[in-house]
């Protein structure tokens, strides 16, 4: 573990060099332990692949005190890799709901059904949430599905689009521009300000995708 200065009221804790299950579990453990340890001094945290940004109240404490607190908490944190909720997200995989599905299959030298099977076979970890409200970066995609980002990003990716890029996958929480490869669509809203909780997943959760038919997708509120 390394702790670097980030700003006047922030430290960044590096818990590894590469994304992976073990590092994600360490990030998650620190995220769950720090609120109790820092109490009111903690303003907010940003967990990511292999790091945790800790923002504190600089008028009530200082970087030395926060650093000591992080060090002592990290020693005793529970790093159980299997912990965290598991959330299942339904996906309607098709050319109609995922414009790049056949291109992804062709590039990988696989059939479309192989792509669907491989995408559903992995249990993913939510590595980070950012880019846009509710955008959850899930890893790691099966090596065989590894696909570069599109050369020219799309101006408009529909809400619910299930997409892959490099060794990551995600569900677009809202209409936005985007350069990931679209392989399907998920009827579950990834971000809904009017609902509590507003997201079905949190950093550190495990996620599985489940292939559903067009009818099931529409019945669950999916839009084409």
């Amino acid at each position: 573990m390394k702790i670097h200065a980030a700003g006047e009221n922030a430290l960044i804790v590096y818990l590894g060099d590469a994304p992976g299950r073990e590092v994600a579990a360490r990030v998650r453990a620190l995220v769950s332990a720090l609120p109790t340890a820092l109490g009111e001094l903690l303003v907010d945290m940003i967990p990511s692949y292999a790091s945790l940004l800790v923002v504190y109240d600089a008028l009530a404490t200082d970087h030395m005190q926060v650093r000591r607190c992080i060090e002592s908490v990290a020693l005793g944190a529970d790093n159980d890799e299997s912990s965290g909720r598991c959330v299942t997200l339904p996906v309607y995989y098709s050319e109609e709901s995922g414009a790049d599905l056949s291109a992804v299959a062709a590039r990988a030298g696989l059939s479309v059904s192989d792509v669907i099977e491989l995408h559903c076979a992995t249990e993913y970890r939510v590595y980070a949430i950012g880019f846009a409200p509710g955008f959850a970066y899930l890893g790691e995609l099966d090596e065989r599905l590894k696909t570069p980002r599109l050369k020219t990003p799309r101006q408009r990716v529909p809400r619910g689009a299930v997409a892959i890029a490099d060794r990551q996958t995600a569900v677009y929480p809202a209409v936005s521009p985007g350069g990931w490869n679209l392989i399907g669509s998920c009827p579950t809203r990834m971000f809904d300000p009017g609902r509590d909780p507003s997201m079905p997943v949190a950093v550190g959760d495990r996620v599985r995708f489940e292939s559903v038919s067009r009818e099931e997708f529409l019945r669950a509120g999916g839009e084409l």
Binding site: D44, I46, L53, A58, P133, Y137, P193, M199
Partner: protein, 313 residues
């Protein structure tokens, strides 16, 4: 519902309160006033809660019609203020009657002014705040910038002490700023020579400067690495993409990102940066985390000791 009607929003007018806190886990950024001091003084003069919503006016041009009798105050960048065509002072609580027309001209220096009303604009909070972040579509009226015809709800208020900043004590908005920087994040990946160049050479504000971040132009700053694993970005973080031109990230920044960062600018100086327009000179100077801490405390004491005075109506 009564309140203030927008006749013209000017270039960019946004509802802001003190910002959204505690939702980084959903990917939500801070929002809030890019000049928090001017926003806070506006509310303090109006004897409002410190979190009350004001309108942040970028460059000027806002015109509104008062639908109720209340008190207003304009702080921040020096924009000519008129009520029914008569010039009125800023940094001062002013009485307005229903039917009055309030107009803000264009900033003579600086670029963000704040218009507040007694008891604040009454806008339903989203995730604990009505701060508008257009990129996220959250806050304000439906997550958007203000437009002509919008009604900003506020209540009629009869009594307010007529406070003002003592004349001569108004914050100044000079062109150009020196940003105090706490080295951090990937600073070790910036070779010594590149760091010296960063802290010695002048930069200037580019055309791409907004509430997300200020892109600067100047000498190319080299870094050993082009990208990093995406990680949390704090207010004021200075990222240096492969083109070597630094970007100082402000209130509406994305919460995570994968460009190397050399450190972060002090919030007090970010507020001054956000008052700069394209072409303004920008310098960086390093300070320790300890000195940054002291600067924040001094600023807090200075604010707490600032006296407001009553003037004769």
């Amino acid at each position: 519902m009564s309140g203030m009607e927008i006749l013209s929003p000017g270039i960019l007018s946004l509802i802001q309160d003190s910002g959204r806190r505690g939702y980084y886990r959903l990917g939500l950024t801070d929002g809030g006033p890019v000049d928090p001091q001017a926003h806070a003084l506006c509310n303090r003069l109006l004897q409002n809660n410190a979190h009350a919503a004001t309108v942040e006016v970028t460059l000027g041009g806002l015109e509104i019609a008062a639908g109720v009798g209340t008190w207003i105050c304009v702080t921040g960048a020096p924009v000519p203020l008129t009520i029914n065509g008569n010039e009125r002072p800023r940094w001062q609580v002013l009485r307005v009657a229903a039917g009055d027309r309030i107009a803000l001209g264009h900033a003579e220096s600086g670029c963000r002014a704040y218009l507040g009303v007694a008891d604040g604009f009454r806008i339903a909070p989203v995730f604990g705040s009505c701060a508008t972040v257009v990129r996220e579509g959250l806050g304000g009226l439906d997550g958007n910038r203000l437009k002509a015809g919008d009604l900003l709800p506020c209540t009629a208020v009869a009594e307010r002490a007529p406070l003002r900043l003592p004349p001569g004590q108004e914050p100044r908005y000079p062109r150009g700023v020196t940003l105090r920087v706490i080295p951090g994040y990937q600073e070790a990946h910036f070779p010594r020579l590149q760091q010296r160049r960063f802290f010695a050479c002048p930069f200037s504000v580019s055309q791409r400067a907004d509430r997300m971040g200020y892109r600067l132009e100047g000498p190319t700053i080299g870094c050993d690495i082009e990208g990093i694993l995406s990680e949390g970005i704090c207010q004021g973080a200075i990222q240096v993409p492969a083109d070597g031109q630094p970007i100082v990230l402000l209130n509406d920044r994305q919460t995570i990102g994968g460009y190397p960062k050399i450190g972060s600018a002090l919030s007090l100086d970010c507020a001054q940066l956000a008052q700069q327009t394209p072409g303004a000179p920008v310098y960086f100077t390093p300070i320790s985390q300890h000195d940054a801490h002291n600067a924040l405390h001094l600023a807090q004491v200075f604010d707490a000791n600032r006296r407001l005075e009553e003037y004769r109506l």
